[in-house]
Structure formats: structure tokens, C-alpha cells
């Protein structure tokens, strides 16, 4: 079973290298183990995360792509759909029934025809448009709703962190 998963991950890696989506770099941490990837995600333009380069890791199960990978940011993050330990919580990372958030029926779900690229693109849109209905970080969701100015300030600090630029 893991053999199929490996073949599929190698194909996906090749695809992502030949045809990288804008603002995303991703691949295995080392070529000995294709089940653990690193990704760098650029904060989307025109949002409070603009210019940031956010590192994350993806861990794939042995039965990938039947089951989805898990994704976790490895830098400090403050966002309604990211747990305080960096784990990403969006609908495409969950199969129906495996649903800690009670996502809306129209939400994009994991199925074996999805891909790493689709996940990363969903994460980029999540950065641009947080979903405060199903929040993994309640404080961030509350601040996003009630005090956008403060939220933007925190985001700017996080962006600077990722670029090693001190916060004034």
C-alpha cells in the first residue's frame, strides 16, 4: 500500500516542481523519506500576511491519497484556522465524517483525487480569507472579527519574524 503512496507522492512532487503554483514551494524534506514534506508559503498579496514566507511541514499517511496528510506551520502563527501549535485546520484536510469542526456542506473535502497542490492553494486562500465560523484558535477568530487593527499588527510582526526583520 505504501508503495502506491510513494509513487503518487513522487508524481506530485514532479508536477509541483515542473509547474509550481505562484507563491508556493513544496517537496520532501529529504529524498529518503517522501512521507514528510516541507512547504514555504508566501503570504497572499493585499492581505495582512503579504510578503511573509511561512514554513510548514506536511506528514502523509501510509494510505495516502485515500486519507489526507496533516499540515502544521513550523513558525509562529496567529490565525483563526490554525491551532496555537501550528496545525492547520481546514476542510480539505478532513474526509467527511472525520470532522472536528462541523464544516459546511459546501466546503471542499478530502478525497483521493485531491492533491498536495490543492491543499496548499486552499491554505493560501485561508490566509487571505480566514473562516471565523469554524475556528481552531478562538482568540484569533475573536480578534479578526472585533479588532482587525490589532490582528493586522500581530500579522505584521509574524511576517517580519519569517523574514528576520526586527519589529520596530
Amino acid at each position: 500500500m505504501a508503495g502506491r503512496a510513494l509513487k503518487r507522492l513522487m508524481t506530485e512532487y514532479k508536477q509541483l516542481t515542473l509547474n509550481p503554483p505562484e507563491g508556493i514551494i513544496a517537496g520532501p524534506t529529504n529524498e529518503e523519506n517522501f512521507f514528510e514534506w516541507e512547504a514555504l508559503i508566501m503570504g497572499p498579496e493585499g492581505t495582512c500576511f503579504e510578503c511573509g514566507v511561512f514554513p510548514a511541514k506536511l506528514i502523509f499517511p501510509p494510505d495516502y491519497p485515500l486519507s489526507p496528510p496533516k499540515m502544521q506551520f513550523t513558525c509562529e502563527m496567529f490565525h483563526p484556522n490554525i491551532y496555537s501549535d501550528g496545525r492547520v485546520c481546514i476542510s480539505i484536510l478532513h474526509a467527511p465524517g472525520d470532522d472536528p469542526m462541523g464544516y459546511e456542506s459546501s466546503a471542499e473535502r478530502w478525497s483521493p483525487v485531491q492533491s498536495v497542490e490543492k491543499i496548499l492553494l486552499s491554505v493560501v486562500s485561508m490566509l487571505a480569507e480566514p473562516n471565523d465560523e469554524s475556528s481552531a484558535n478562538v482568540d484569533a477568530a475573536k480578534m479578526w472579527r472585533d479588532d482587525r487593527e490589532q490582528f493586522n499588527k500581530i500579522a505584521e510582526r509574524l511576517v517580519r519574524n519569517t523574514l528576520n526583520i526586527p519589529y520596530p
Partner: protein
Amino acid sequence: MENNQTADSEETKSCEYDPNVNQDELIMAQEKQIAEEIKANIAMVGELDDLSSLEREYSNDPVYFSKVATLLPKFSNVRRTRPDGNCFLRGFIFAYLEYCIYHREELTRFKQYLEASKEELFEMGFPKFTTEDFNDMFMEVVTDLEGSGSIDRVEAIINDAGTSDYLVVYLRLLISAHLQKNAEFFSFFIEGGRTVGEFCKQEVEPMYRECDHLHIVALTAALGVGVRVMYLDRGEGSSVVSHDFPEDKDPVIHLLYRPGHYDILYKA
């Protein structure tokens, strides 16, 4: 959702409640453990078993016992499938490939159908390279059976997790495509105010989601393969009710339904 929360808080009163632990995640972890146990202990499609084994299974259950008795003259054997949410599809593809190795013209027809289905899925917007992966595997299996087709080979293929699961995934895509192509018709049968597209994303395309009437109607219509399902339940009457999918086609596959599960039946 609100109901869930009440149920959660009531349950947690009786056991020690740690507010720092996500209860949903605990439940999911337990479900996963149960699924792992089933995986380790039950073959995806088991060996050919005598139908009298079903009688023994229900020796203490008069309703089921007498209904099984009515199956006995018509059917001789049963193959049990793993109850993992894929049982209908696994049972279907096993029985169908078995039928195909004894009916070579059907195998040829199926191969042509598979070949053509790929382009159709692309046209409907299924992602190309992931869809292709599943189609490739199916073509490989069918080509393999064209050469060395034997029941042993079918058993080996369907019990090889990587291969078997990929076939199940592709059948799910075919069902999804058929439902979406005929969305206007099928939309009347979908519960919960969902669109046909949403239903496919939630109940059809993901693995381990159980197949219901709609899935069966769509798959048998898409492939043009007749399936007869024998319903063994506590419904009224002393005989087992059967239903043919599609209604106008002679069944080449027989499945036994017990609430929530499908196994393969063999005619006497």
C-alpha cells in the same frame, strides 16, 4: 450541532472531563482504532463459504433463521466482505471481475468502457493527473485478467490493499460522474438540502463512505451491469425481498444485504 453539544456535556459529566482535550478528536481516534482492528482481522473479500454458515450464524434468531432458509434453495455460497464502508463496491467489483473472466466478451466491453470513461471524467472537470492514476490501475488490472484471468488472480487482486482500494476509488468517481451528469433527476433523492455536487463530494468520492441506494442505481446504470440485491432484514414477511438494479436488466451479480453491509452471493 446543538444536540451534539448537549450529548457531549452529559457524557463528560460521568467520566472525567478534561477541557483541554478536544472530545471530537478523542472519538475520531477511537473510531480509527476500531477501523484498524477490522482491517487487521477481516479480509477485504473472504473465501467462498457454504451458505449454511449463515444459518449457523442465526441459529438463535428465528426471524433471520427462517429468512435464510428461503435463500438456501436459490443460493449455494457466500463470500464475506470487510465492513469498512467500501463493502458494496468491493463486493461488486469482485463479483463483476469474476463474471468477466468467464464471459470474455464482457471483459472486452468493460475495458472499452473504462478507456472511454477517462476522457469523460476529464471533460467533467475531474483533476487530470490524479484521476489518470486510478484509471491506469484499473486498465492494468483488466489487461492482466485478459491474459491470465483466473479466480485465484481476482482473489489476489482484490485482496491486495493498494490495488483493491484504487479500483474502489475509480468506481466512486464513475458514480460521482453519473450522478452529476444526471443531476436534475437525482437531485430529488438527495436529503439534507444538499446539491448533487455536494453529495458527491461528501458521500461518494471520499473512501470509506457507505454506498446507499443512489450509489447503486448510479453505478449499475453507468456500467450497464445488472445487480440483484437480496435484502435480509427484520422487515415484514417470511421471505427475503429482492431488488434488481437497473430494473430492466438481467442480474449477473447477486449481493446479500444486511442492514449496513453487503456480501456476495452465489447462485445454486
